[in-house]
């Protein structure tokens, strides 16, 4: 059993497509999987054609008044369920702040689901907040997509520092390059330098590709509309790298 969060302080780096494709891939090979869309934008809910709405909103959910079990929706794929997003998730920080031990809240809510699912993916909103901290406390793996840009080095350092200051030693940070453009010299250089400095960066690179962008049009995980492409193979490789690191 593992809880895997896809997270980056920055937005638009490929968190959602990673969560959607990896959750789908894991479910296809037989893992009983849940994907929780924590982002109020509800992009992963959209990919699975599930309405980004939950009864009682984020408040009832965080308070524990409404059990997570009753909010889960089956996707169109075997072994894969989803906890959809809700627009009220934009206020999750406030809701968490009002509770005792807010950073432990998410782990507590997830506890009953651990028995049912072998893998839980958390698709997180960008920013660093109380919710992110709660996600870090609850997760075993923090999967962080990084666009090879000058800012990314800074962002990764920030994240590492944050985990250290908060004493979050149990979580395994797994950065990987996302939306990389092989044609750009700068991308190639940054990737080369970053790997030297941060050996924990995974080997697999998810390159920028129009088929990944097409997911929004198809409203499907990539493997459902393309049998084989560089992107589908990259997600498979990425999953293989992560799978062996699952505690």
């Amino acid at each position: 059993m593992a809880i895997i969060a896809t997270y980056n302080i920055k937005g638009g780096v490929g968190k959602t497509s990673t969560a959607v494709n990896l959750a789908h891939l894991a479910a296809t090979i037989g893992y009983k999987t849940l994907l929780w869309d924590l982002d109020p934008q509800g992009a992963s809910s959209y990919y699975f054609r599930i309405k980004p709405k939950i009864k009682g909103g984020g408040k009832e959910l965080i308070s524990g008044d409404r059990e997570l079990d009753g909010l889960i929706k089956g996707t169109d794929f075997d072994n894969l369920d989803m906890l959809p997003a809700d627009f009220s998730f934009r206020n999750l920080d406030l809701v968490l702040d009002a509770r005792k031990k807010p950073t432990q809240r998410l782990a507590k809510l997830l506890k009953p689901l651990v028995k049912e699912y072998e893998l839980i993916f958390l698709d997180c909103p960008p920013n660093i907040s109380l919710l992110s901290e709660a996600v870090f406390e609850a997760s075993d793996i923090l999967l962080s997509p990084i666009i090879p840009s000058t800012l990314s080095l800074r962002t990764l350092k920030q994240l590492k520092k944050f985990l250290k200051t908060k004493n979050l030693k149990d979580i395994k940070l797994l950065p990987f390059f996302s939306m990389a453009d092989i044609r750009k010299k700068m991308h190639r250089e940054i990737m080369g330098n970053l790997v030297l400095e941060h050996p924990e960066v995974l080997d697999t690179v998810i390159y920028y590709a129009s088929d990944i962008e097409r997911m929004g049009y198809e409203r499907l995980p990539i493997a459902e509309f393309i049998k084989k492409s560089r992107s589908t193979e990259s997600y498979q490789k990425l999953w293989q790298e992560i799978e062996v690191l699952i505690p």
Partner: protein, 512 residues
């Protein structure tokens, strides 16, 4: 929270394609795929899974071959595994989920295919405005049975499933069903579930003539012998022979306990035959028991010795094979077949109108009461005479008397109030168990020593004999434990409350 399935029957062998066309006019749907499949149901010969409310089915299609365990009442799947073949015994099932559910129910019984159903399956998705699947529908078009439809609820979309269910029932004329297709398939073969049970259930009328009642009982037992015969010959599992032997023992006990009902020559003649049958089947049964017991022998040893006992298993298996061959030959022999046929003919003959045998025309209830009451008092007498110093033979004799009493009570249970007779049978069974254990342990000790002597001639490693010695010692401990428990079990059996029921049920007719 598990997803719920709702089942329907499609009326009048309506073709699936035609039905789907009708459904398409009412809801947005997509045929995900169609495929040919074959469904095979499995159960033990005595319906252990069915009795436990379980269905075991193997579904083979071009794409997937899956063994599924289904809860009969709700139709929900409780375990599944990808496999092409179903092993005969629960022990050999690879999937731990299915194995853990089946093993305690099946025990030593083999899984036997019940029926084979070819069908064409249509997998249909019902879509919402976002083209998201909210309900899954499976239509199964069987060759000789009414077609079936199953709504598979998707988590979080229960309301959509209920809406479709209502639509199918109200607008498309489908009938909800709660019985598995197994029932319909068995009906097609002229069978029904639970058509075999090793338990006696013979309906007798209290004022029936004793000879007629006895023939009814023996016919029931003869059927048990016949239906178990081929399974015992083929050694499908050990219970076929066991049930066959129980029916033989019951017949023997009936012939010796209910006397002067049939002409003495007939009674004597068949008593000899059934005694022979008991004897020629005993060796194979003994070997079955030792092979079945082997795991417990092994587990009773310290970890370091468990591997040392393996040669005993090989030895037992060899002896089992030889005994099984001998058994098969006997059960196929002309002497067995002709005598059993003669017994069958005799039972089928109408009873003699004015027989000379004094008990033949007696009312069966009177005779039953007399025999049960007599045996019951004998059990009390023999049991009371046993002290801490009594020889094992005394306990063996008592065990035999108890068996006779038990068989009589089971033959005639329909003549007595159900609750009371069941309670007394239970009380007796509890007492018999300790007597049975005592003797079983003793015989096992003796035979293991005997096997040891035989194995010495086969250059068996010394460590095997040491391990066998420990097994014998463990059995001896258990036997002594059973012996110690005897008096408390007997006290429980003969307690006044039980005596009172025995008296009310069985002594009344004598006084009358």
């Amino acid at each position: 929270m598990s997803d719920i399935n709702i089942y329907f029957q499609i009326p009048g062998y309506q073709k699936a394609e035609k039905f789907i066309a009708k459904l398409e006019k009412k809801v947005a749907l997509q045929i995900a795929f169609k495929e040919y499949s074959v469904k095979k149901f499995f159960d033990s010969f005595d319906w252990r899974l069915y009795k436990a409310g379980l269905l075991c089915e193997l579904n083979c299609s071009q794409t997937l071959s899956q063994l599924r365990l289904i809860e009969m009442q709700s139709g929900q799947q409780i375990a599944s595994a990808k496999t092409d073949e179903v092993p005969t015994f629960a022990d050999d099932i690879g999937d731990s989920g299915i194995k853990s559910k089946l093993k305690p129910v099946l025990e030593m019984r083999a899984l036997i295919p019940l029926t084979l159903l070819p069908y064409r399956a249509y997998h249909i998705n019902i879509l919402n405005n976002d083209q998201k699947t909210t309900v899954r529908i499976r239509i199964k078009e069987y060759e000789d049975l009414p077609h079936r439809l199953c709504i598979q609820t998707i988590r979080g979309y229960q309301n959509a499933a209920l809406r479709i269910s209502k639509l199918l029932e109200k607008s498309l004329g489908l009938t909800p069903i709660n019985k598995s297709v197994l029932h319909a398939a068995l009906k097609l073969q002229g069978r029904k579930p639970l058509d075999y049970s090793s338990k006696l259930n013979i309906e007798l009328a209290p004022n029936m003539r004793a000879d007629m009642a006895c023939k009814k009982i023996y016919k029931h037992l003869l059927r048990a012998i016949k239906v178990n015969e081929s399974g015992a010959i083929a050694a499908i599992d050990s219970e076929f022979l066991h049930d066959l032997r129980v029916a033989v023992r019951r017949t023997r006990s009936g012939l010796s306990q209910i006397k002067n009902v049939f002409p003495s020559q007939i009674t004597q003649d068949f008593a000899v035959f059934f005694a022979w049958l008991g004897q020629v089947t005993s060796k194979a049964r003994d070997m079955d028991v030792y092979v079945l017991n082997f795991t417990s022998y092994k587990q009773s040893l310290p970890d370091s010795m468990q591997d040392h006992i393996a040669p005993l298993y090989a030895f037992l298996k060899r002896k089992q094979v030889t005994a099984q061959k001998e058994l098969s030959a006997k059960l196929k022999s002309p002497e067995y077949l002709s005598k059993l046929r003669a017994w069958e003919s005799f039972l089928k003959e109408p009873v003699i109108e004015k027989p000379v045998e004094p008990n033949a025309t007696r009312n069966i209830r009177q005779l039953a009461c007399k025999r049960i009451w007599k045996n019951y008092r004998r059990v009390l007498k023999e049991g009371t005479a046993i002290t801490g110093r009594s020889a094992p033979e005394a306990l063996h004799e008592l065990r035999k008397t108890c068996k006779k009493l038990r068989y009589l009570m089971e033959f005639f249970q329909s003549l007595y109030p159900k609750n009371e007779i069941s309670q007394l049978i239970k009380v007796l069974k509890n007492f018999q168990d300790i007597l049975g254990d005592f003797q079983d342990y003793e015989i096992q000790e003796q035979n293991l020593r005997k096997f040891g002597e035989e194995m010495m001639r086969e250059s068996t490693p010394t460590e095997t004999f040491l391990a066998m010695g420990v097994v014998v010692q463990n059995l001896c401990q258990k036997r002594l434990g059973a012996r110690r428990e005897f008096s408390s079990r007997f006290e429980k059996f003969k307690q006044p409350a039980n005596q009172a029921i025995f008296k009310t049920l069985f002594s009344g007719e004598l006084r009358a």
